[in-house]
Symmetry: C2
Subunit: 236 residues, 2 copies
Amino acid sequence: MQKEFDDMLAQQYGIKFNDEKLLDEAFTQASYVNEHPDQGLKFYERLEFLGDAVYQLVVSDYIFERYPEMPQGRLTRLRAAMVNRHSFSRFARECNFEKYIRLGKGEEKAGARNRDSLLCDIFESFIGAVYLDQGLATVQHFCQLVIFPKLDEGWFDEFFDHKTELQEAIQINGPVAIDYQLLDEDGPDNDRQFKVVVVINQESLGTGEGHSKKAAEQAAAKAALDKLGIQDQKLQ
Amino acid sequence: MQKEFDDMLAQQYGIKFNDEKLLDEAFTQASYVNEHPDQGLKFYERLEFLGDAVYQLVVSDYIFERYPEMPQGRLTRLRAAMVNRHSFSRFARECNFEKYIRLGKGEEKAGARNRDSLLCDIFESFIGAVYLDQGLATVQHFCQLVIFPKLDEGWFDEFFDHKTELQEAIQINGPVAIDYQLLDEDGPDNDRQFKVVVVINQESLGTGEGHSKKAAEQAAAKAALDKLGIQDQKLQ
């Protein structure tokens, strides 16, 4: 298993550990350590602590450089979308990390191997181990291969909120009144359609439609962002 | 002022910026940019975003190495004590950063220069600028000079909670009953004294006194930690 894991890391990501014990530690749960008390093993939690901060910096650095005009508020939200436990477990599964975790028998039986929370932890502990063994540049390389392409694949789009985006873009130099007005509402109760216009400084900047007022407002905000040319600051 | 600032950074911290514009950006508030619209200035917020992550990693890395036996939970709490806005404003004042901030006239009049929240932001934006201009090693060097000695000066001690520490140390391999028992209570109402013993697995591990039950419990937990030799894992 260890050999298979080493080969996978080398082939897929070009990573070859100098200190294999760090990699072991990153993939070992406390339950396994407890079952093998004589082997002097360590479990992943401290590496998880470190990996959390390493990953946060690598992501921050990347989006800071990639979106040179993106204001702080949106950078912070994008980072939060990329640095959260939901994303971590998806990344860990993408790398098939669940295969290589060392668990105690009870945890194995309880199905821990496929638990999101464990996969999150392991993703972070892996990053921590790579950082300690290979340095920041190797973590950056790993993220270039595994994480950053997800930006273009739309993994994090759901976290964007066009109304907030518009507000931030418009109010960058101080408060401006942004008004969402309902233009039209029709259709049967189970298929109601709303049409909204967003008005900024008495000027209609975009209209949007949707099955709820909220959805129509989001669509109107998106249209206004497009009209103002602000979409370029977002993803791409 | 710029000259004085450059000299201060060079003399105190050995930092000499390659790109002075980054340093300017780190110390410029939006209000100043708005008052000088023709100068193509940038304000500090994006650097603050980046500096936040840089500082978090530098602190994490340092305490990870310094306390090789400290479990994850306590590392996380110690990091939270060092990476928080209250600490940032103290650091910024320690470095006299308030002198070098560029503010608009209105903000100056409103006393922004000495506002904790602005000083926090500037501390982070400074870290971000140093990272971009000089790299991680220079940020680490700055923290070695300015931040890490504060650990030994007790700046972060208030964040430690002996009862939680004891619980974590004892329960590392699973739940253990920890019982705080009131041994004695006397004195007048305005000077009441409590005495508590902490009992773990039917063994009395420490006693403590205080003017409240809570204080006596903390003292008992501290005594138990000392008896167990766990104090070494804390600070020092």
